[in-house]
């Protein structure tokens, strides 16, 4: 009678999981470096990049506008009561502007783009992997990282800052609408204070973070797609994983980036 195989210990299981995660991070880093290296040598796929810019940028506009309007309005609703207590309703524009430009604009835009586009990238590339289209591309002599991943990375890095700017502006519009209707705050007062509250450090923060978030979203989405295993079920898992990991990474990096930028500009 054959002996039963020994059950692995908890330590061995944890060690195995940890090793796989470290290997995954290493693989992700190598893939991202390869994609970035492709930007410095031909061939370049400009048409594919333009197409991706349309998908990421123009395609995300509706949700960015809707979310921006809502969040700007909610900010004013939540802060209005506090400002009224101290008789400083005029500070509403300052608060909304600083919150949106420094933090909420980049973070919420990143989360929305991650949900919409990281999942799309992972599912599209994952489907290509399981149907051997990526192998077919390699067999035809085309580098799939250069053809598939690089246009998506460039498009996302360029479009997320622009979407953030749209989000910030629309958020301020939403905030003004609520401030005008509930606090009877004048347009001149609101917008003057909103603009004057910002200094160069805030604007740099507000535009640097989206670039980094865009890079994270695209590289994670493409990595999850290109490393799919397990058929259609694997594609589904990859789609979810891409959104979760890119969102969490963006938020964690946001913390460290905020700390660094605050140190540099204050």
């Amino acid at each position: 009678m054959p002996e039963a195989s020994a059950t692995p210990s908890l330590t061995a299981v944890f060690a195995d999981v940890a090793k796989r995660q470290v290997a995954a991070v290493q693989d992700y880093a190598l893939l991202s470096v390869q994609a970035l290296q492709c930007m410095f040598s031909p061939p370049y796929y400009w048409l594919d990049t333009l197409e991706q810019m349309d998908i990421v940028g123009v395609g995300s506009l509706p949700i960015i506008i809707l979310a921006g309007l809502s969040i700007g309005g909610v900010l004013v609703l939540q802060t209005a009561a506090q400002f009224q207590r101290f008789g400083e309703t005029a500070l509403t524009g300052d608060a909304v502007s600083l919150a949106l430009v420094r933090e909420l604009g980049p973070a919420v835009t990143a989360l929305l783009v991650s949900g919409r586009n990281a999942s799309g990238m992972a599912s599209e590339l994952g489907s290509m992997v399981v149907t051997e289209q990526v192998d077919a591309m390699r067999a035809l002599g085309t580098d799939p990282i250069r053809k598939l991943m690089m246009p998506r990375v460039i498009a996302t890095v360029l479009m997320v800052p622009l979407l953030t700017v749209v989000f910030d502006f629309v958020g301020l519009c939403g905030g003004f609408l609520v401030a005008y209707t509930t606090l009877r705050l004048g347009a001149v007062q609101f917008w003057t204070r909103a603009i004057n509250a910002l200094d160069i450090g805030d604007v740099v923060q507000g535009l640097t973070k989206p670039v980094v978030f865009g890079l994270i979203i695209a590289t994670v989405g493409c990595y999850c797609g290109l490393r799919v295993r397990g058929g259609t079920q694997g594609v589904g898992r990859a789609t979810t994983t891409a959104v979760v990991i890119s969102s969490v990474c963006a938020l964690v990096v946001d913390f460290f980036l905020s700390r660094l930028l605050l140190y540099l500009f204050q």
Binding site: P43, T131, E132, R138, A139, L140, G141, D143
Partner: protein, 321 residues
Amino acid sequence: MTRDVPPLDSPRNVANALRPSPRDKRQREIHTVPGEALISLHDVHVGFEDREVLQGISFDVAHGETKVLLGETGTGKTLIMKLAAGLIQPDSGRVLVMGHDVSEMPERELLNFRRSIGFVFQEGALFDSMSVSDNVSFRLREEEMDETEIEERVREALRFVEMEDALEKFPADLSGGMRRRVSIARALVDRPPVVLYDSPTAGLDPVTSQTIITLILRGRDLQDVTALLATHRVQDAFGLANFRFDKASGHVVALGGNGESGLAESLAAREKAAEGGKERNLTQPTNVLVLRDGKIYFEAPADELLLTKDEYLKKFLASAE
């Protein structure tokens, strides 16, 4: 298996399909000496996790030869095709294709090298977001060929596989057999010297499978390709071994002989047909390689497979659909 295949429009079109283009004059990076095999595997081992799938595989494919890999599902036929294309690397051993050691080449060099081979994937692997025309022209666009020539080449390739009407269709609009034909057109559009067919008839009905084999015959006999074909269908091996595509009539014709008694006649007929020196492929019989348990179980011309007394091979032949 004499079968009426529609001729290639006219002799003029056959000649047009064969005429060299400026790109054909480009050197194809074949680094073998005359007589040397175009594809060689030397003691190749490939394993996954707990199982070694290929255990010391060694074989050659001579210039102009068509070699058929036969075996049950899971014996490593697709692995060998991917090894030959450099899509995966062996755990040990060497893989030489057109004189290049693809088991040692970095991916950047492999990308350039793969432009000299054609690969037909098992399910076609067409790019589903691109039209048939874009799929077939993919490699030509990557090489920045002139648009006029691209269009001409694409039409020729699709005419070759009798899919010229499907230019603007998408893979989702095509049947399995049609997708397979477009995949062959994509592999042959650049007239590579080596073509790898991975189970081109898998999942197809017998009539469509016959059509695919006819196209492979045409590619072999009109374009002088060296081919490695993986299949689980014994009929595919015999189809390639016992028939040829006749340029003059545009039909598939038997080489001569059939079954056990026809072996000598088959070989003699091949040699006679090749006497003129034009159909040089036919001096090379179609050889069959049967894989079993990760090793080569049988390797000989296809006709000898019918004469074998081995029980496993007889069972394999008997279970053929």
